[in-house]
Amino acid sequence: RSSYYTPVTPSNLCKPRRLYISFSDVGWENWIIAPQGYMANYCLGECPFPLTAELNSTNHAILQTMVHSLDPEGTPQPCCVPVRLSPISILYYDNHDNVVLRHYEDMVVDECGCR
């Protein structure tokens, strides 16, 4: 369920956006015992020139925005991607009806950056 929310200061800059993933939405409810869903978030937004510190950018991304500002058609802006994620644990049935508790890395987007 992706619903835009209107932040207090409207911004199209690269940042995490709320995304709640419901496992029944993706058709996994027969396998997953818990959780039923979780706040996974996603990254969306612009990486404009000049890139400011809070946009978590690499040196390469800073150069790319400069080139984009000179030649917008030829060189795109850097991409807004997850740069810090955290894990969650999922309780589920495997294909042999065993109960499994597994720790999955990189499941929640905490921070976005320009790359």
Binding site: I33, L91, Y93, N95, D97, V99, R102, H103
Partner: protein, 231 residues
Amino acid sequence: RPRESRAPALRFVGPNPPPGAPAPVPAVLWRIFQRRALPSRGDTAPGPSCRVEEFNVPGNIIRVFADQGHFIHSGEPKTFLCLEKRLYFNFSVLEEGEQLTMAQLEINFSHNSYHTSSGRQVFELRLYQALQMSLRGMSSHMYNHKLLVAQSFAQLHKSLLFNLTEVAKGWRTPSRNLGLILEISVGSRDSALALPPRRLQNLCASIDSFLDTSLLVVSLNQKQCQASRKR
């Protein structure tokens, strides 16, 4: 989307939903899951992601295997054994690159303790590792087997736990996974055989509350742990 295109780490969706009534979720897994999902205020931050604090072993996957073995009816008149059962856990689900770090067998009984009318009655439990099937078929004693545990009990708690980590590590090789043989008898073989058959039968009846066995296995998938450490 074709199955292959799914990220392997999240590949637990089978072609069909789990069959029949889903297996109950063991309380220990619920506890660990809830502790990770909702660390209580007093908790320190969750431990390293590749360690199971509750068992103090490395691991990022905990599985509870249901026993797929069967009761053994040797067809001969009842011996001194009240219960004879083969236990088998299908380890084929363990993925390559997973390192088994702990295996704990749990034997559950439906009620806490046995009160026998004539004072203290001692039961004996023996657990054997089946090593090799003999040519003569499936009866428990047709296997070469090795005694793993011999324990007597009078006051029984709901469940008995046995650490089978070393034995389970050997089961990663399918041809060596012939499971276990569980025997429960009224006392030792001689004392049981000295009892009148009816008395023996009555004592064995109290063993009927045998409920089930399961194997909790903790394993570590190095690839997934290293990835996070590298970053």
